[in-house]
């Protein structure tokens, strides 16, 4: 391990220290190694608190950097520093770009990947938001755009999952060490991300546990990595809103999916729209903007009506649901004058074909 990497690993472990701090040192002719060798007098002069100085001294004595490096290589985690040419240029838009990034998988994204889009939202989202996030992830993946998100439950997971499904590039930015699995439910998702050419990313040292304050901080990395940020659904106080605000400050386009005005979990994303965010009213139009060369794919494609597996009754139900939206079996049975029994059967068939989705207990809608 070279001396430089060791110094940067150690400096990165100090929470408030960013890449610009080290750049300033270098402008004054002090390399990171020299800085660490400089001892407490130099550290204090450069604004270290006694606690931070104490931490540095201890780490230096038991060669923390070496241990950290070894634990990285043991589990296949790589590191990319701010001096690396592959360091994402978008992060330099941040006031406090991370010193380095730990990652598993493929990073930076392969050359053919188009723009990286941040798709964020609340963990406790509505069924609708999950569907939108998944469809957005899928369409982005199909158009060779990448998805950046936080790997959380709800919107984040759906967006990652949709993108993976379409074989796209997706990166999850963790608020924990990159070797941690949080939330546990997403273990498979994370493994898939790494296996299928995506990446898990974090600025935190190995083994860092999730703390509430770390997540908003990691959001700046999501903002920095993304070219555009889409808030699918978020209440007024939410990490997704923080990401959007940070993104706005560094000049990212902010998009939001319009939500119902009586739903609390949509208040934040709707507020973004009121403040001038771009409304995402059509996934295909949005993706079209990013990758105009790709053939346009209709959201509600009419071709599905010619599906040979679809019965006449199925078609009737499908067009009824497209017209009416969220409906119960009773509504459908009344609307298309069929028995509840045959509606149940037709819905099961339509669901197998992926044309309708259950949006709540006993309620159905046409799939996106």
């Amino acid at each position: 391990m070279d001396e430089r990497l060791a110094s940067l690993l150690l400096l990165n472990a100090i929470p408030s220290l960013d890449a610009r701090y080290i750049q300033e040192l270098q402008e004054d002719g002090i390399s990171p190694e020299e800085f660490l060798a400089g001892g407490e007098a130099l550290w204090k002069e450069r604004g270290f608190t006694p606690r931070a100085a104490e931490f540095l001294r201890e780490c230096l004595t038991f060669e923390w950097s070496l241990m950290e490096y070894e634990s990285c290589s043991a589990v296949g985690v790589s590191v990319i520093t701010f001096e690396d040419p592959a360091y994402p240029p978008g992060l330099w838009d941040l006031p406090d770009p991370p010193v380095l990034l730990y990652y598993r998988g493929t990073f930076p994204p392969p050359r053919e990947t188009g723009e990286l889009i941040g798709v964020v939202g609340t963990r406790r989202c509505t069924v609708y938001a999950r569907e939108v996030a998944a469809a957005l992830g899928r369409t982005l993946g199909e158009s060779l755009c990448g998805v950046v998100s936080g790997g959380a439950l709800g919107v984040d997971g759906a967006a990652h999952g949709g993108c993976l499904e379409a074989g796209g590039y997706s990166v999850a930015v963790f608020g924990t060490g990159v070797d941690m699995v949080f939330p546990l439910e997403h273990k498979d998702l994370f493994n898939n991300l790494v296996e299928k050419g995506g990446a898990l990313l974090s600025e935190y040292p190995m083994g860092t546990m999730g703390k509430a304050w770390r997540f908003p901080r990691r959001n700046r990395i999501i903002a920095g990595l993304s070219q555009k940020i889409v808030v699918v659904e978020a209440p007024a106080r939410s990490g997704a809103i923080i990401t959007a605000r940070l993104g706005g400050e560094i000049g990212r386009e902010i998009w939001a999916v319009p939500g119902r005005i009586d739903e609390k979990v949509c208040a934040g994303s709707n507020a973004l729209l009121a403040e001038g965010g771009f409304p995402l009213v059509s996934i295909s139009d949005f993706v079209e903007l990013l990758a105009p060369s790709r053939e346009q794919k209709l959201l509600f494609s009419e071709e599905s009506q010619e599906n040979p597996l679809l019965s006449l009754e199925g078609e009737k139900i499908l067009s009824y649901l497209r017209r009416e939206g969220n409906r119960t079996v009773d509504n459908i049975a009344q609307g298309v004058t069929m028995s509840a029994a045959s509606v149940t059967g037709e819905l099961a068939l339509l669901e197998s074909l992926g044309m309708v989705r259950s949006s709540g207990p006993g309620r159905w809608r046409a799939a996106l």
């Binding site: 079996v329 009773d330 149940t344 059967g345 099961a348 197998s352 709540g360 006993g362």
Partner: protein, 504 residues
């Protein structure tokens, strides 16, 4: 020395008890041996007072032995045989071995209602002896064929009968009122909308499939469960006897209606309360619901060990209650209906009220919705909460009555009986998988559909069997032996993971 027969209960089973009485001279003292419980020991006072009221004073040293000596005796139903034994010994009445007596005595000699009369009647029939029991118990005994039973109002008239002075009329075997089906508390006609749930209930009743409902509070889950009772086939005479044998063990009031039992269990219930137990080896709710509906509302709130404990009786149709005091087997062939909210607050996926649960809370709740019991459930159905507008629009649409649905259920049951009767099964839910598959000849189209469904929905082997069972019942309801594709499609709609929105 004289012996008179009484009985004691072990579970729902009656055991013959010989009551032996010995009187010798000396100061008055009455001892009772043979493992009596407190109620039996206190019989001394009731018997003495009852006999005094007939001017039969007791004198001398009296020993009463309850044989066999090593079986614990319980309950007040031994009052009567003890009194008869004393009367025989006192030569007030002639010896009367070869008859079964049961009854609790009032101090003035009247006879009070006892628990376990039906079991007593079955014992008397098996022994081939006449049965004397309190008149209040007479109706339940009338269900038992081939027993010579006498309803006794008080001790005096019993003694007159035994002396041959004034014979009591023997009880006539009475048939339950034929086919006068009582009105259940909820008729399907009263349930607005919920066509899918009603259809699922019809299938459940027809094939005896266990059912699981999920839906927001106030969507009508409990009402639907109560209504299910009214579309089940009425109890036959034998079934009525089975039901009342258990009910009489607990001393529950006798009800001659052929309406199948409906038992609703609260989630705070203990395992013995549901599965049976206690020192008296009493039957639990699962046995009280035998031949009827067992309803578990708020299923995820039930303790896991209770649900575990219910697994075997649901599978086998009977439950062995084993305790230190002995072991008994109760029947437990129930139609299980479970209900649950979609999430902890109940409003996940509701169009009007927003859910307040966090993502982890939802997951935790969804996790509790799987497990041992749901593996025994064939039909999963969602019960949406209707919005006020939807309720209003349902107001004037015509709805089927329970009686009309019951007609179809009965016809479907008849078809099943004629198909499976020779194999010893009566409904589709009981039939083993092998036999079921053999009886269903699937065409290439159906086979392709099943393969595709299994792949798409990742059906397990068990899931596939459940699907086939339901298809068979849907076919029986349609009155058709050959099965068509739409039936398979409908059955697929009731599969276990038919509520994918829960996996958020």
């Amino acid at each position: 020395m004289s012996a008179v027969w009484g009985m004691t209960l072990r579970g729902a089973e009656a055991l013959r008890v010989e009551v032996e009485v010995e009187m010798t001279g000396g100061l008055f003292v009455m001892t009772l041996v043979g493992l009596p419980d407190v109620a039996v020991r206190e019989a001394r006072e009731r018997v003495r007072a009852a006999l005094r009221s007939l001017d039969i004073p007791l004198r001398g040293r009296i020993a009463i032995n309850l044989a066999p000596a090593d079986i614990p005796k319980e309950g007040a139903l031994l009052d009567l045989p003890i009194a008869v034994g004393l009367a025989v010994q006192g030569e007030v009445i002639p010896p009367c071995g070869g008859a079964l007596f049961l009854g609790e005595l009032a101090l003035d000699g009247r006879l009070r209602r006892v628990r376990g009369a039906v079991s007593g009647a079955i014992l008397a029939r098996d022994l081939g002896v006449p049965l004397y029991l309190p008149r209040e118990n007479a109706p339940e005994v009338s269900l038992v064929d081939g027993v010579e039973a006498y309803g006794v109002p008080d001790l005096a008239s019993l003694f007159r009968h035994l002396r041959g002075e004034e014979p009591l009329p023997s009880l006539e075997r009475s048939d339950p009122p034929e086919q006068i089906y009582p009105v259940p508390e909820v008729d399907f006609q009263e349930v607005k909308g919920q066509g899918q749930a009603k259809r699922a209930m019809e299938i459940a009743a027809a094939g005896h499939h266990n059912l699981f409902m999920v839906g927001a509070p106030g969507s009508g889950k409990s009402m639907l469960a109560k209504a299910l009772r009214g579309i089940l086939p009425p109890l036959s005479r034998e079934e009525l006897l089975e039901v009342h044998r258990i009910r009489s063990t607990l001393g529950l009031p006798f009800d001659v209606s052929p309406l199948p039992p409906f038992r609703c269990v609260h989630h705070t219930a203990t395992t013995p309360a549901v599965c049976g137990g206690g020192s008296r080896l009493q039957p639990g709710e699962i046995s009280l619901a035998h031949r009827g509906v067992l309803f578990l509302d708020e299923m995820p709130e039930f303790r896991r060990e209770l649900l575990e404990a219910m697994r075997q009786p649901l599978e086998d149709g009977c439950i062995a209650v084993n305790r230190a005091s002995g072991s008994v087997i109760y029947p437990s062939r129930v139609l299980l209906v479970c209900a649950a909210n979609p999430c902890a607050c109940g409003y996940y996926g509701d169009p009007k009220v927003s859910c307040r649960c966090s993502a982890t809370e939802r997951r935790r709740y969804a996790k509790r919705l799987s497990g041992p019991i749901l593996d025994r459930v064939d039909l999963h159905v969602a019960v949406p909460r209707l919005t006020p507008e939807e309720l209003l629009s349902e107001e004037d649409s015509s709805r089927e009555s329970s009686a009309a649905i019951r007609e179809r259920v009965l016809a479907a049951r008849e078809r099943q009986r004629s198909r499976w009767g020779s194999f010893g099964y009566s409904c589709n839910a009981e039939v083993p998988e092998k036999l079921l598959r053999k009886s269903m000849q699937l065409g290439p189209k159906e086979k392709a559909f099943l393969r595709e469904a299994a792949r798409k929905h990742m059906l397990t082997g068990r899931g596939m069997t459940r699907l086939l069972r339901v298809v068979r019942t849907i076919g029986d309801l349609a009155g058709r032996e050959e099965l068509a594709l739409p039936m398979f499609a409908e059955a697929l709609g009731y599969r276990k993971d038919g509520n994918p929105w829960m996996n958020a």
